[in-house]
């Protein structure tokens, strides 16, 4: 069994699966049970400044979208930071960390954008023995209306300023949690780095309305006839998160900045994908909120098996896919593929035909006996048929041999690489040397 021991910015944990700052990590009771279930670490639910705690709504705080069989695909929340007194949280953090010294315990923080507020809370956290802090610059609802959370995360200058305060007033590792509700994720990441952050974590939740009650004409979740946007998480946001993680991992300005990957991690495979795109570890929330703490056991066994089969260690996997994340202009236009339908696997549902005929390139023929075949002289290898086929592996993209003639274009497949930067149709093309 592969060694999953993780060292993230000096914070050690027996595996790279941490629970994200969220309802599952709101109190000692939960966190102890999470550790017992096998979680490598937790980021304690966000603490605010001392004083009367925030209050939450007393109606529904979650909304959801579902797939087949009511499988939860996306969860939206309007819950705020912890609504329990600061002193209670700190006492519990200290007790838990004392009893689980081998587990990571990071404390999420969100206090006003004043240095005094940060100066006040950081020593209190440090005193608990916690391993580090995560700055919540991501929550897009409620707290952002008060100038915190994503209101900070959307202004790189604020990120840099607050991060600097934290680093100047604490010896703890500092992870800056980023909001995806921006146009270019690299800018806030660069700001965090300039401020001295040890790492960034992303993504926080995505602004969302999950659905509309068509009787009440109100967004879900609805409270007394009104709704407010919440933050979406869960499997639905994973593709957004993967891209943002990859952007930071491959950007020259932020390359090497440790990343804690968050966003729809539900299985070991999701985790492996985040790690391959540059995440040093992952944080999980929705999967635990959907299935309970036990899901981590599948993540541990699955990632371990994968690493064993690949014959690599966890650290070897980190960033392994980053060099292959490129820009469109650098994709090889001379790599020509055609769809191929495996007639043995085909169940003749005709979805590929409907999709291609109605919405793509009319490159699939339907013949007697419901036999579906690809018309190579029309196929542009768009992959839509592969994506809509209900049978995994039935339709594949087969690359044409060099020297063969593409029946669609009548041109020979060249051996050499050729992308847009050198393409004759590109007015900006550099002359080939």
């Amino acid at each position: 069994m592969a060694d999953l021991t993780s060292d993230f910015v000096g914070i050690k944990s027996p595996n790279p699966f941490w629970l994200a700052s969220a309802p599952p990590t709101d109190k000692e009771y939960n966190v102890r049970r999470a550790y017992e279930a096998g979680w490598g670490g937790v980021v304690w639910k966000t603490l605010g400044e001392d004083g009367p705690p925030v209050v939450n709504v007393n109606g529904p705080r979650y909304g959801a979208i579902w797939g087949a069989d009511r499988r939860l695909l996306g969860l939206n929340n309007i819950e705020l930071i912890t609504d329990r007194p600061l002193e209670v949280n700190l006492r519990e953090i200290k007790a838990v960390k004392r009893d689980y010294p081998d587990r990571a315990l990071v404390v999420s923080l969100m206090v006003p954008c004043e240095e005094a507020a940060w100066k006040a809370i950081l020593p209190l956290v440090e005193e608990t023995g916690a391993d580090g802090v995560e700055l919540n610059f991501g929550c897009p609802h409620g707290m952002s209306e008060r100038g915190m959370g994503s209101a900070v995360g959307q202004v790189p200058e604020y990120i840099e300023m607050v991060t600097r305060w934290v680093k100047q007033n604490s010896r703890m590792p500092c992870i800056v949690k980023l909001t995806p509700n921006i146009t270019d994720i690299r800018k806030p990441a660069e700001a965090a780095k300039r401020g001295g952050a040890d790492a960034v974590s992303l993504i926080n939740t995505v602004n969302s309305i999950t659905s509309v009650d068509l009787d009440l004409f109100a967004p879900e979740p609805t409270i007394d006839g009104k709704g407010a946007h919440g933050g979406l998480c869960g499997p639905a946001v994973k593709p957004i998160a993967l891209n943002m993680v990859a952007e930071i991992a491959r950007s020259p300005e932020t390359r090497g900045l440790p990343i804690s990957g968050i966003g729809g991690v539900t299985t070991w495979r999701d985790a492996a994908e985040f790690i391959a795109l540059g995440a040093g570890n992952v944080q999980v929330c929705t999967a635990a909120m959907t299935y309970g703490f036990k899901v981590v056991q599948e993540m541990i066994s699955g990632l371990s098996q994968y690493l064993d089969e690949k014959g690599v260690g966890l650290s070897d996997l980190v960033g392994r896919a980053v060099p292959n994340v490129s820009d469109w202009q650098n994709l090889n236009l001379n790599a020509i593929s055609k769809a191929k339908i495996d007639q043995e696997l085909c169940i003749s549902c005709g979805r590929c035909y409907a999709a291609c005929e109605d919405t793509s390139h009319q490159a699939i023929a339907m013949s007697d006996g419901r036999v579906f075949t690809v018309k190579d002289d029309e196929c542009v290898a768009c992959n839509l048929c592969v994506n809509v086929c209900p049978v995994e592996g039935c339709i594949s993209m087969e690359r044409m041999e060099v020297g063969a003639t593409d029946p669609r274009t009548g041109k020979v497949v060249p051996a050499e690489f050729g992308d847009w930067t050198t393409h004759p149709n590109n007015p900006m093309a550099r002359a080939a040397e």
Partner: protein, 440 residues
């Protein structure tokens, strides 16, 4: 096992009421909302879907399933009913395993089809429970059409004609409408008086007058109907039952399976319905299975279906055969009845083994029997009908008979399987042709 089950002869009350109730409950219990969504989610929404092609009424199955999946079962029901106004009954009695579900791509791929029949029932039950009749009559045409037979073919024909604005009179020999839906199928396929409720709902279109107790050749004649109405549709089914034609075939205890099923369907109290201890059903179709299974459910100790050819050739579907066997019915194949023995009432029935070409092998055996059901097919009572094709009414295209102004469909017409769904399709198509003819 108690004495009541062991007692010989044909007698009532072999089982406790609770056992009867359980036995005769819904064969395929209805889906609840969540089950329906899960089942609907399995549909791939195939292009030019094989299931719809396989359906004799060509219901747009992928569309109705998608309508269920998106929370609009009423719209799904309308999709079904616009092609098959008896979609509720067909959802219960169609041999889906040899029609839509047999060709479902998931059956082909995984051996587990989308459960189209149960989904269809979910949708049609929903619209009937809400007492919605989703069709409206067109403006009156002033034309009058007589429909003979209130079975699936006649009802489908009448509904479509009424929808087109014609005035329809349905005549049926029996005291209640419904035909085989009401009298001829196993009770566990049409629970809670569904057949009657469906007819009431269907008549909600308006413009249809139902006259029961009127048989062709008894109270009315085809000549008379032709003279009185603008068109006539014959959907009178098969009124006769084929005879055994063997020694002792008329002994007490020997009767028609269809009569047994009919009595059972109309019985107020199943505990009062007599059944033998050793029951033998002769035949290999749906009627044989319906009679055998229900005899078993009434408490018969030994029930045997004897079919003269091999089991693969039984007209009853594999599902029906397995249902019978699961209920404890024994199926003996390649045996043909030779004589019914007994002193007055039947005591034994004697068979001879045959090969698949019905050549006798010379080897004989006897089965103890105090009740024997004939289920070897029904036949048309042909007096005063249009030209026949074999033993049924000859039809061309959408049910046109040899007589101008007379159409026919369902079991009494030649061609097509003797299935409820086929009868519905034929009645519907004849109605369209009658409408086209009358409005030409």
């Amino acid at each position: 096992m108690d004495a009541r089950q062991l007692a010989g002869g044909i007698r009532a009350g072999r089982l406790e009421p609770q056992a009867l109730e359980e036995g005769f409950s819904d064969l395929h219990p209805p889906y609840d909302d969540h089950e329906a969504l899960v089942a609907a989610d399995r549909c791939y929404f195939c292009h030019d879907a094989p299931c719809a092609t396989a359906c004799p009424t060509t219901i747009d199955i992928p569309l109705f399933i998608r309508q269920i999946a998106t929370g609009t079962p009423e719209a799904a029901a309308k999709t079904i009913l616009s092609q098959n106004i008896l979609g509720g009954m067909c959802a219960r009695v169609c041999p889906t395993e040899t029609l839509c579900e047999e060709v479902c791509v998931r059956e082909v791929a995984e051996g587990k089809p989308v459960e189209i029949g149960r989904l269809q029932r979910y949708a049609t039950d929903r619209i009937m429970a809400r007492n919605i009749h989703p069709f409206e009559r067109a403006a009156p045409t002033g034309k009058r059409v007589a429909v003979v037979g209130a079975g699936p073919a006649g009802l489908a024909c009448a509904h479509r004609l009424a929808m087109k604005g014609h005035d329809v009179v349905i005549l049926d020999a029996r005291p209640k409408p419904g035909g085989l839906n009401e009298f001829g199928i196993a009770a566990y396929k049409s629970t809670e008086d569904f057949a009657a409720r469906e007819v009431d709902w269907l008549l909600g279109i308006g413009g249809i007058i139902l006259e029961t107790g009127k048989a062709l050749g008894r109270e009315v004649t085809l000549e008379g109907l032709k003279a009185e109405y603008d068109a006539v549709f014959l959907g009178l089914g098969l009124g006769g039952v084929n005879a055994l034609g063997i020694d002792g075939g008329d002994r007490d205890g020997v009767s028609n399976a269809v009569d047994f099923i009919s009595e059972l369907r109309q019985a107020e109290d199943l505990a009062a319905l007599p059944v033998g201890r050793d029951v033998v059903v002769i035949g290999g179709g749906m009627t044989a299975v319906d009679a055998a299974v229900q005899a078993k459910l009434l408490g018969a100790l030994n029930v045997t279906i004897v079919y003269r050819r091999s089991q693969e050739r039984m007209a009853a579907s594999v599902f029906e055969q397995e249902l019978a066997q699961a209920k404890g019915v024994r199926i003996i194949c390649n045996a043909t009845p030779k004589a019914v023995h007994g002193n007055g009432a039947v005591r034994e029935i004697e068979f001879e083994f045959t090969d698949d070409d019905l050549t006798p092998t010379g080897e004989r055996f006897r089965l103890p029997a105090d009740q024997v059901f004939r289920a070897i097919g029904q036949s048309l009572v042909t007096e005063g009908l249009p030209t026949l094709d074999g033993r049924k009414i000859a039809v061309e295209g959408p049910g046109r008979t040899s007589l101008p102004g007379v159409w026919a469909g369902g079991d009494c017409a030649a061609g097509g399987d003797d299935l409820t769904v086929t009868a519905v399709a034929e009645g519907r198509d004849a109605a369209e042709d009658i409408h086209a003819t009358l409005t030409r």
